[in-house]
Every structure is written in C-alpha cells, then in structure tokens.
Amino acid sequence: MNHARIQVGMQGAALVERAYQIAVSYAEGRVQGAIRSRGKNPVAIIHHADVRRMLALMKAGKDAMKALGYVAAAALDLSDHAGSEQERAEYSARVGILTPIVKGWNAEFSQELVQLAVQIDGGMGYLEETGVTQFMRDARVTTIYEGTSAMQAEDLVGRKLLSDGGEAYLVELDEMRVVVSELALADNSIKPIGAALSAAVDQLAEVFAWIIVHNASDAEVLEVVAFDFMMLSGYVAGGWQMSRAALIASHKMIDGNDDVEYLADKLATSHFYMEYILPRAQSHASIVLSSGGSLAQVRH
C-alpha cells in the first residue's frame, strides 16, 4: 500500500516534469511582447519574468516532490532490509509518516504546477495544440485515487500521529534540524537556505506540538485541520530536501566537481524553493492554529 501511494505521488511529479519540458520548449519559441528595458522588439516569452516565475515554480516543485518520493522509497526498502529489527521498525515508522505526505502533498501541489504549463502555452495550450491539457487531466485523478487527499491527511494526523504520540514525526523534525545545523556551517552563499529552513522547521514543530495536544483532548478538531497540516508538512519536507540538495551541490562545487552548470542550477533552484514556495507553509500553519472554529459555522 505504501508502494502504491508513493508511486501515485510520483505520478504528480512526473506529469509536472512532462508538462514543464513542453512549456520550456514552447516558451523558447513563442515570441510576444517586448521587454521595456531591452528595447522595442518582441522577445521569446521565456525572457519575460512572469513566464520564468511559472517555469521556476514547476522546476523547484517537481525537484522537491521527486526528492521526497525517493526518500520515502528508500525508507520503504530499509524497513524491509535494514540490519536490525529496531532499525527496520524505525524505518517503517518513517515510511508511515512520509507516505501520506508524498501521496497527499505531491498530488495536490501537482495540480497547480501542471496547469502552469497550460498558462504558459496560452491559447495554444488550452486548445490542445501543445498537448499539455492532457497532463492537466491526467494529474487530476492523483488527488482522488489510492486514497483521496482527505484520506491521506486523516492517515497522517488521525492514525500515524495518534498511534505513537508523534514519536516518528519528531524523528523527521530532528532530521530536518540536522540539515539546518549543517547549513549553518556551510558556505555563506547557502546560509540563507538554512535560515529559511530553520524558521520553517521551528514553525512546523510548534504546529506539531499543538496537534499532539489536541490529539489527546479534541479529536474532532483534527479532522478539520488535517488537510492543512498535511500540506504544511509537505512544503516543509520539500524545503528540507531542497536544502539537502543545496548542501550536496555546494560541497561538490567546492570540491571542484566538473558539472558546475548543473550544480549551480541546483543551488539556484533550491534558493527559489525557499523564497517562492516555502512561504506557503506559513499560511497552512496559521490555518491549523486557528483550530477551524469558523468552519463549523459556515452553512451551504
């Protein structure tokens, strides 16, 4: 079951990848609109900041989603094959936490990202000419099957956190903090990534503590906030993975690795994730902490 959910999470990321490649290709060819500072001639739309913004969202998003999926798959492997029974149990608990996040968050985040390709392709995209609408439609089912987003959220908050008092989740938070401390010692150019992750993890920990308290005292509230807690977890976990990527890329560059262009691009993408995507965690955190009292009053 974990195996299938992780793969459905990966479907979202894979569809974003496919749509992204088409969007880049389209944007490189489609000429429209001048850039004031560069003169009167229209340019390929890939030069327009807003198109670059959308492409970067897709790129950073899919990188983070894929990385998280692979971490979950590795944990699944180790839950079966690690040396000791205790290690296997620890990895099994890790899979338990990561799987609903990978399936739930990846699928939800992919909805928006895959549609950006339609936006970039404009009328041509919408009218089926570039094929991107198929990926939008293909992605639409990923939040539905193999357990809806609500089910993934319920699994994370109602089952996993309840079953062990949050112990496995705390282990994940600790892992994130290791990366924070490694970044604090890293090259100055990537320290801001660490700072952003640190703030996000602190906030996540605060919200997590709130959830644990309410798990004990008010289970109904949890149903209301579960979705946003899942999304909060996803955005921060994505930031954790992009931070790890930045650390590795930075070390490789310092060590004189040849692939400078790729590594520099990885760093840039990680920076972008922390600046443009990670802030979404804050809105989900606010929603959880509001306890959803207003929700009960809304009538339909």
Binding site: Q7, M10, A14, L15, G69, A73, A74
Partner: protein
C-alpha cells in the same frame, strides 16, 4: 502512444476491456524485457532491486505515459 491513448481511451466491447493496440504491444515488450520484475525478490523470479531503483524506472515511465505506467502499478 500517449495522446493516442488519451483520444481513444479504453473500449468496452462485449464485456471485454480493450486497450489501444500500441498499449498491448508496449506492455508485452516491457514484460519480455523483465521490467515488471525489477524489485521482486530473486527467489520469486525477480531481479531483487530496491524500491528506490524501481521508483526511478517508474518515474521515467510515468513521465512518458502515465496511463501506460498504470499497467505496472495495477499488475
């Protein structure tokens, strides 16, 4: 094959579910190459690769044709 599958879809004919022809051939080729057995234990006729490795294969397959990748996920 990806847009063909999108346009043609699956057909229900006399209680049989018919996939577009290229899907059938592609899946046969995939099976012959051994890909579905990638992460099954060698004792069961698989190649014993980790889930991590299978996921990399699955990612590529999904990027190419997510509908086709469901043959593997559902099997």
């Amino acid at each position: 094959m990806n847009s063909l599958g999108d346009q043609q879809g699956m057909q229900l004919v006399d209680s049989n579910v018919i996939a577009p022809d290229p899907f059938v051939t592609a899946y046969q080729q995939m099976v012959e190459s051994g890909w579905p057995a990638l992460s099954f234990p060698e004792s069961e006729g698989g190649f014993g690769f980790p889930e991590l490795v299978e996921l990399a294969m699955v990612e590529m397959m999904q990027t190419a044709n997510v509908a086709f990748s469901m043959c593997h996920l559902l099997a």
